[in-house]
Amino acid sequence: METKTLTKQPQKSGQKVDKRFKILEVTMKRNHYRQDALIEILHKAQEAFGYLEPDVLEYVAHALKLPLSRVYGVATFYHLFSLKPSGKHTCVVCLGTACYVKGSDKILAALQQELGIKSGETTADKQISLLSARCLGACGIAPAVVFDGEVTGKQTAENVLEKIKNWQQHGEP
């Protein structure tokens, strides 16, 4: 058993005013600081902070009285947790079987070429993150692509590129 005492305050003084830690605190409280709620809490943390920064992981470990290694272990095991910040927009291409059979690999290839990054990376201007997924459960309308959280079906390389261009043009300089 870990013997660290439960601190309700963030570790660094500068963050005391940070509202995001409050959200996190409320979530942990709602889960009664139960160690088995770690995954739900990390979900919430990622939602609030955009990604799992080291400070946040430390904070969670401390509050749940878990060894930091365990928290890191979980955060790195699951694909949906990210320890890196992502871009302003995200584009997720489904590479599940139904989408693949209908050509989603070509969509991804076109995007990689256009953006000059690989799947899992973010453009240098931090505008667009490109990701791939393993089946979104929207196979009936394959190939499926998620633009900023919105699933759209029956995509082609052309209209995906158009969407990306829109983002690029309307993004901040």
């Binding site: 139960r34 160690q35 088995d36 709620a37 770690l38 995954i39 739900e40 990390l42 979900h43 365990r70 272990g73 979980v74 095991f77 699951y78 694909h79 949906l80 947790f81 590479l95 599940g96 079987t97 139904a98 693949y100 059979v101 209908k102 997924a133 393993r134 089946c135 979104l136 459960g137 929207a138 196979c139 009936g140 309308i141 394959a142 499926a144 919105e150 699933v151 759209t152 079906g153």
Partner: protein, 535 residues
């Protein structure tokens, strides 16, 4: 809540629905939502208001109607007119057509409910899908919901329930096909006060979305099925482990749980019986291996989702070391009808060793994409050519993939095989959870095998070496083939390695990872050979 109150809600809701002569049902499950169903429903709502038809027409959001490839879909009752690909431009025409004296142009394409797509189906799991509002518990109660739970709690012993489920011949729909009754009996027999029931809603197989549709369309059916299971095995706490990729299903489940609690259908002393039951939701975080039951349990406990050797099975030592029943979504969805109609009725549907119906996600290069529910024993040909309407763009079927990364390909000349656990296994594939992906003449089987191996090497949890290293080696060998750099020796090595990984891996992921390779080698060896480097 008691039975009278339940029946009163049923009656009242039915009456309310009948008050208005017309009903427009709009699919609001994810498939159609991603084609714009939400705005279609909103504008229908508005248009009805503008035309002052609120007294006559009810617009209802409902779950999945099955034909997901042609969304948004709406259905108008009592005529049961089905429309596909509905756009906002169609709305005025639809409103006009409600008044039957006028026919109108500009209507969306009309679906034919006598089409083989619907005619060959038999709905048990999906009987309420597309009919009821998944966000409204009263709608579920109107269809007889929670009456079977009442029946079980007040008129049956746990043993009676298990007997009925055993009699039905239901086998687990999560992939393994283990007899559900036997599993329930095992957990029931275990000593101990604390037991759990878990619903596996991880649905990790790429190309499968049956569980999602059931959860989004009829969430209370899962809650009722789980409660009946809990009573039968002696559990009072349930968990639904659901993947984070299904936010709408999560939202609807959360709402359903709240509503059930409010009605006293969940909590303590349900229907004034001594039975207590509550359900918590656990959201996954994107790991295919977490569908494996021991990994899933670790994940529910908030840990890394890595499998452990079995035995002990979860039935003996599961969540927190206590006896745990774990079943798939579709398995639970079959429970209410089995209790309602009896095990014998269920066993009369299907074949000798595969009873009832199975929901398939029919996708790929096929005309009619979507969800279908057919009696076990239906031939793959019927599914692909009749229900599915054949291959897209008048192509030809080359193979049908079932069972996802643990399965294999059925070649065109074996399409007459009936869908059954055993017949599929004989062909070197499996029923799996129900993904069915049609591939046409242009698909390279070696590339498909490589595609699945890529999936497995990425999803391998890394705990045991045969799987962690073997899948990478297999992937590299397949890549060599695809790039035409492989020799006969590589092909031999590929085959030997498949066997090794299959025989020595710790969990189902590794044990079945080579299946797509073995299966395509069996039926499409030519393709492998033709890629070999000429020396």
């Amino acid at each position: 809540m008691n039975l009278e109150e339940l029946l009163a809600i049923q009656k009242e809701t039915k009456q309310k629905r009948q008050q208005k002569p017309k009903q427009i049902r709009c699919c609001i499950a994810s498939g159609c939502l991603s084609c714009g169903a939400e705005s279609v429903k909103k504008s229908l709502d508005n248009a009805i208001k503008e035309a002052h038809l609120e007294q006559e027409v009810e617009v209802l959001g409902v779950g999945c109607m099955g034909i997901c490839g042609r969304g948004p879909s709406i259905e108008i009752d009592p005529e049961t007119t089905l429309y596909h690909n509905v756009t906002l431009e169609n709305i005025p025409a639809i409103i006009t057509s409600l008044n039957q004296t006028k026919t109108s142009e500009n209507l969306p394409p009309q679906g034919d409910l006598n089409h083989p797509f619907f005619a060959y189906q038999k709905l048990i799991v999906r009987e309420n899908s597309g009919k009821i509002d998944p966000d409204n518990i009263d709608d579920y109660i109107a269809e007889g919901g929670y009456q079977q739970l009442h029946h079980v709690l007040l008129e049956m012993t746990p043993n009676d329930v298990i007997k009925e489920v055993t009699k039905s011949g239901l086998r687990g729909r999560g992939g393994g096909g283990y007899p559900t009754g036997v599993k329930w009996a095992t957990v029931a027999k275990m000593p101990g006060q604390q037991k759990y029931v878990i619903c596996n809603a991880d649905e990790g197989d790429p190309g499968a979305f049956m569980d999602r549709a059931v959860l989004e369309s009829d969430p209370h059916r899962i809650l009722e099925g789980m409660a009946i299971a809990a009573y039968a095995v002696g559990a009072n706490h349930g968990y639904i482990y659901i993947r984070a990729e299904y936010p709408l299903a999560i939202k609807r489940l959360e709402k359903a749980i709240q509503q059930a609690k409010r009605y006293g259908l969940m909590g303590s002393q349900i229907f004034d019986s001594p039975f207590d039951f509550k359900i918590d939701i656990r959201v996954g975080a994107g790991a295919f291996v977490c569908g494996e039951e021991t990994a899933l349990i670790a994940s529910v406990e908030g840990k890394r989702g890595t499998p452990r050797p079995r035995p002990p099975y979860p039935a003996e030592s599961g969540l927190w070391g206590d006896p745990t029943l774990i079943n798939n979504v579709e398995t639970y969805a079959n429970i209410v009808p089995i209790i309602r109609e009896g095990g014998d009725w269920y066993a009369s549907i299907g074949t000798e060793n595969s009873k009832g119906t199975k929901v398939f996600a029919l996708t790929g290069k096929i005309e009619n994409n979507g969800l279908i529910e057919v009696p076990m024993g239906t031939s793959i040909r019927t599914i692909v050519e009749e229900i599915g309407g054949g291959v897209l763009d008048q192509g030809t079927v080359k193979a049908v993939q079932t069972g996802g990364p643990s399965g294999g390909c059925i070649p065109a000349h074996l399409l007459d095989t009936p869908v059954e656990y055993d017949s599929l296994q004989k062909l070197g594939t499996i029923m799996g959870s129900g993904g069915m992906i049609v591939m046409d003449q242009d698909t390279s089987m070696v590339e498909i095998a490589r595609f699945y191996m890529d999936f497995c090497q990425e999803e391998s949890c890394g705990k045991c070496i045969p799987c962690r290293a073997g899948t990478v080696q297999l992937y590299d060998l397949l890549t060599k083939l695809v790039e035409r750099k492989a020799t006969q020796q590589d092909l031999d090595q590929l085959e030997a390695l498949c066997q090794m990984v299959k025989d020595t891996s710790l969990c189902g992921l590794g044990m079945t990872a080579p299946n797509p390779v073995i299966s395509t080698l069996q039926y499409f060896r030519d393709e492998y050979v033709s890629l070999l480097q000429v020396t």
